[in-house]
């Protein structure tokens, strides 16, 4: 086959798939600025739906809840995940293989199972469903992502630098503070950002574990959708999309810089 022709066909195919992936997202963003209530005819530019959205107390509460949950679960999972990556890489202990296996479970089992199992746990312990249960649950599924990110960074780590520092009389803590931490820091940050994006976007866990006072943005969208389509949903979705994209671009930027 003519190589130029086949190259053209390949590019066209890639373009079509990207269109398939991005057209629905583009439509949401476009119609969030549409003056008419319809999702078909574009009759002019407006920011009305955004002003309307921000005057809705429920939406503001949901936004604050989502950000609170994402911030706390990211912070906790960054600490536990980073320490855990070092621990699993450097130390031997009883049951290490069990813990290493357990770390993968939140990633590989269907999310609904995580939701169900934590629902049963929290209600058995009689913990009220709300921000706390969501932070605990989000931390559980975010930690493995941070841990794996940091662990893969540690794997490409030249141990002789640490040994050299110790030979020169540095204590283990000094070595950790001045060598290990700076080296893995980009991985910690990109893992944390991934965790933040995952927490902000989660829907399944939220449905199972949120209480009446802890509506999050995805839950808000879900319940709005059940009532039917409205331009406010477009605006709300656009805000979430933009947030996710910004977090993603930042985290990838950090990752790419560290790989250079």
């Amino acid at each position: 086959m003519d190589s130029k022709l086949s190259k053209g066909l390949e590019r066209t195919y890639i373009f079509c798939i990207f269109a398939f992936l991005y057209v629905p997202i583009a439509i949401i963003i476009m119609y969030s600025f549409n003056a008419a209530k319809s999702n078909v005819v574009f009759s002019g530019f407006t920011l009305d739906w955004y002003t309307k959205l921000f005057s809705d107390d429920d939406v503001i509460t949901a936004l604050v809840n989502s950000l609170t949950i994402a911030t706390f679960s990211t912070a906790i999972s960054a600490v536990i995940g980073t320490l855990g990556a070092i621990g699993l890489k450097r130390h031997n202990f009883k049951g290490k293989s069990v813990i290493s296996l357990l770390v993968y479970i939140p990633i590989v089992i269907p999310e609904i199972i995580m939701g169900v199992s934590l629902l049963i746990l929290f209600s058995t312990l009689q913990i009220d469903f709300g921000i706390l249960t969501l932070v605990l649950a989000h931390t559980t599924f975010c930690t493995p992502f941070v841990l794996i990110n940091v662990k893969s960074r540690l794997a490409g780590f030249d141990l002789s630098i640490e040994e050299a520092a110790m030979d020169l009389g540095a204590s283990k803590f000094t070595v950790f503070r001045t060598i290990t931490l700076p080296m893995i820091f980009p991985a910690v940050v990109s893992g944390a950002m991934l965790a933040f994006a995952l927490s902000l976007d989660d829907i399944i866990i939220n449905i199972f574990l949120s209480g009446p006072e802890s509506t999050t943005l995805p839950i808000k969208i879900f319940s709005m959708l059940k009532f039917g389509l409205s331009p406010e949903i477009n605006a709300l979705c656009t805000i979430m999309l933009v947030t996710t994209f910004v977090v993603l671009i930042l985290s990838q930027g950090i990752k790419l810089r560290r790989e250079k």
Partner: protein
């Protein structure tokens, strides 16, 4: 002294992760197993008398249909994402100039809320959505088509949502493949198709299997897509489980269904480990 410090460091790094994973992953999962053998009380509480009726109940035709539907939907989703995703990933790895951009474009839907992405399709397919509007204006149809709330709509939603999960591992494994093997096969006179079948596919098998598992496992449990795009017409295992916990208040039966779902996932992961002999994360990240 040095030994004590060493031990403090060990406890500090090992304890938090171990505690968290045991308490929030292992114990809840074991507890589900336990609950699945209990009975439901009349008021929706759990009665701690052991029974296997939660499992035998699944043999009813109603539930058999849900299981079969789920497996068929998950299978078609996996097949479609693989058939469309493989050429896409293959061609995409050839573009070196805009690699970072392509990677970002592939990653972004992976991390975007799947609810929002589903919503995009609801807007497109709805009775007064874009497709119907275009068809009505051009006079191809007289009455708007009812595209939502059908198996077809659920399939589109599933394929769309799961597509990035297939492409990411495929892209990574095709990108890592040593292209010298393909050159060698060509030099030895193999046709393009034969090279693809006997060299490229076996070399990228880890990515293919990883992608298939990453798509198949969650698509059995994505209850909100059948909920929003299938209306009450489509019921999958995920919907059934959600129903037991959120509406029917039959936790023991919901727990038993969850155990079945965990088993399906575990079997697939064992298949992966057997076939590829590597940990899943190597391909995904």
């Amino acid at each position: 002294m040095k030994n004590i410090k060493n031990n403090i460091l060990k406890v500090l790094t090992v304890f938090p992760i171990s505690f968290w994973m045991l308490f929030f992953v292992a114990i809840p999962l074991l507890y589900i197993v336990f609950i699945s053998f209990m009975q439901r009380g009349d008021d929706g509480t759990i009665v701690y008398i052991s029974t296997i009726s939660n499992y035998t109940r699944m043999a009813r035709p109603l539930y058999i249909k849900v299981f079969l539907d789920s497996i068929v939907v998950a299978f078609i989703t996996t097949l479609c994402t693989l058939l469309f995703g493989y050429p896409f990933a293959y061609f995409a790895t050839k573009i070196k100039k805009y690699k970072i951009l392509i990677m970002l474009l592939i990653m972004a839907p992976f991390l975007t809320n799947s609810l929002i992405r589903t919503y995009g399709w609801i807007v497109i397919l709805s009775t007064n959505g874009i497709i119907n509007h275009a068809l009505l204006i051009t006079g191809i149809i007289k009455e708007p088509l009812k595209m939502l709330y059908s198996y077809g709509a659920v399939m589109i939603g599933m394929i769309y949502t799961m597509f990035p999960f297939m492409v990411l591992p495929l892209y990574n494994s095709i990108d890592k493949m040593d292209k010298a093997y393909i050159e060698a096969a060509k030099d030895l006179g193999a046709s393009r198709w034969k090279t693809f079948r006997t060299v490229t596919v076996p070399l990228t098998m880890p990515g293919i299997v990883a992608g298939c598992i990453l798509v198949f496992v969650p698509s059995v449990g994505l209850f909100f897509i059948p909920d929003l795009m299938g209306g009450s017409n489509v019921m999958l295992i995920g919907n059934l489980i959600e129903n037991q916990f959120m509406e029917a208040n039959d936790w023991p039966f919901g727990a038993a269904l969850s155990i079945v779902m965990i088993f399906i996932s575990l079997i697939l992961i064992l298949v992966y480990v057997k076939m590829v002999g590597k940990k899943l994360d190597a391909e995904v990240f």
